[in-house]
């Protein structure tokens, strides 16, 4: 807190060499958004927003992204902890593997999921034969596809936070007799809470916008697997304005939620 006030209070001019690229960067990110706003058919906005299917797709998107984030938190935080705190052979390889979904084109990710969790896949086939459960073309499939693509964002954020934490607190907890689990839940986790929250927000945003893996693994069926990005893509086939309106809805919802969470959890200015 004091450090940031001091930094802001120095009153020095911002170097132009930083300001110019920063302004260009901002423009580059914001201008396309402006393009969307320019093409928005404001007069017919009402009927388009209440068109059948819009609310269903939006609700499904928010639900699936939230469930995917919870899944990522459950699995990703322990994995990040393992990567940051435990020395084990092949750790660098594991760290590289964790980021694979970031590099993989999402459609390929969807195919890969099908090859494992699909009807003919080793796990999907077993689930089908044993429990009669199939994952493709279900809402669960959407959650899995989104989690697959979004989890690296969470892991990277949490691992970064863990590496930035002063080890001495954990060591102190250990000398006072806390075992590793107690240290993790009582000391480490509270210390990295802002990092976990930032990672969860990134993860949620990525899941909300997920398209390629979702349509490949879970298909597209209104009310079951058709999330907003899928609805936007199909609307684009026939009606650019409808697609613009749907995109705006998705953007507004995500910005409102993200901005709200940021203030509450991450403590941004």
């Amino acid at each position: 807190m004091t450090a940031s006030t001091r930094r802001r209070g120095t009153g020095q001019r911002v170097p132009v060499a930083l300001l110019v690229p920063a302004a260009l960067g901002l423009l580059f990110l914001v201008l396309p958004l402006g393009g969307l706003l320019l093409r928005t058919p404001w007069t017919s906005l009402g009927p388009r927003l209440t068109a059948p299917g819009v609310l269903t797709a939006l609700r499904l998107s928010v639900q699936c992204a939230t469930l995917a984030t919870l899944l990522c938190l459950t699995l990703g935080v322990p994995l990040a902890w393992l990567l940051a705190r435990v020395e084990f052979p092949g750790r660098r390889l594991v760290r590289a593997l964790v980021t694979v979904p970031l590099v993989l084109p999402p459609v390929v990710g969807g195919v890969a999921l099908l090859l494992v969790f699909g009807r003919r896949g080793p796990i999907g086939g077993w689930l089908d034969a044993t429990f009669g459960v199939t994952l493709p073309f279900t809402t669960t499939g959407v959650v899995l596809a989104e989690a697959f693509v979004a989890m690296p964002f969470l892991i990277i954020a949490v691992e970064g936070a863990l590496r930035g934490v002063d080890h001495r607190y954990e060591e102190a907890a250990a000398t006072l007799g806390a075992n590793r689990w107690t240290t993790f839940t009582r000391v480490t986790l509270p210390l990295v809470a802002p990092g976990v929250a930032a990672g969860a927000v990134l993860c949620w945003a990525r899941a909300l916008g997920e398209f390629g893996a979702t349509i490949t693994f879970a298909g597209n069926y209104p009310g079951r697997t058709q999330t907003m990005p899928l609805a936007v893509y199909l609307a684009l086939e026939t009606d650019l304005e409808a697609a613009v309106v749907l995109s705006l809805v998705l953007l507004t919802v995500s910005v409102v939620i993200l901005a709200g969470l940021r203030d509450r959890w991450i403590g941004g200015p």
Binding site: I215, T225, E237
Partner: protein, 260 residues
């Protein structure tokens, strides 16, 4: 000093990016096609147009044909938003109309092929499907294209003509998506174009059905007004519509256009 150190590479990068789209040479003085030809073609034309492109390059030394294969509506959007293309071949008249309505077609589009639907099934047809009525079998997983894309519209027409109501497990964004679900074994059947089933004949079989004759798609092609290379564009359209061109298309599973 510092400012220049940042701005110069930045400007260079922007220029380099801007340069990516160019590269078309001016038409030759003798009227023969030269230089780069950019063809925007429906995804279902991938195999046949690639073959025709190679033939075009062989017939006209000094030409390079580059293709942008994608869904017809995506291509139409790209063209109306100013993408530098010479030729547009669409899988449906509706997407062609988007381009002609915007005044971007140099002349009237010509229909050069027709595509019909088949039922794509895993090779050997394990479910023994023989017609559209079989698609209603309980427990059978069917993929259709979404109604917004041409193959979905054709599927709706065919199913209506047969009086069959199918509940699909997924409405795919394009025909390749529907076909991929069959290839991967996730669905038991999908309604796809005959050309797509034929292109994947190592993995899937195509079951013909009579109602598809009433639900075909006409493929129009046109030279664009803003074509950077109109000479080559016209020559390419002529090749597509010639007898050898038609033979390549028929091999791929297309039918000749209806009418004279």
């Amino acid at each position: 000093m510092t400012r220049r150190a940042v701005v110069v590479p930045l400007v260079a990068a922007v220029l380099a990016l801007a340069g990516c789209g160019g590269g078309t040479t001016a038409p030759a003085a003798d009227g023969a096609p030269r230089g780069t030809l950019t063809v925007f073609a429906a995804a279902s034309l991938t195999e046949s147009f690639t073959t025709l492109g190679r033939r075009f390059e062989a017939e006209h030394p000094g030409t390079t044909v580059t293709f942008n294969f994608a869904g017809s509506s995506a291509l139409a959007t790209q063209i109306t938003q100013g993408a530098p293309a010479d030729v547009f071949a669409s899988a449906a008249p509706r997407n062609m109309a988007t381009v002609t309505d915007a005044g971007l077609a140099a002349d009237a589009p010509a229909v050069f092929a027709r595509n019909q639907l088949v039922i794509a099934v895993p090779q050997g047809n394990p479910q023994r499907l023989t017609g559209l009525a079989d698609l209603t079998r309980p427990g059978l997983k069917v993929a259709l294209c979404a109604a917004q894309v041409p193959c979905g519209a054709a599927a709706t027409t065919a199913l209506d003509a047969a009086g069959v109501r199918v509940t699909p497990v997924t409405l795919e964004q394009d025909v390749r998506g529907a076909l991929a679900k069959v290839k991967l074994g996730e669905v038991d059947a999908a309604l796809v174009y005959r050309t797509d089933a034929r292109a994947a004949d190592r993995e899937v079989d195509g079951v013909e059905f009579p109602e598809s004759a009433r639900a075909g798609n006409d493929y129009p092609i046109v030279v664009l007004t803003d074509a950077p290379n109109p000479t080559a564009a016209r020559a390419f359209v002529a090749l597509v519509r010639s007898a050898p061109g038609r033979a390549v298309l028929t091999d791929a599973g297309f039918q000749p256009p209806a009418g004279p």
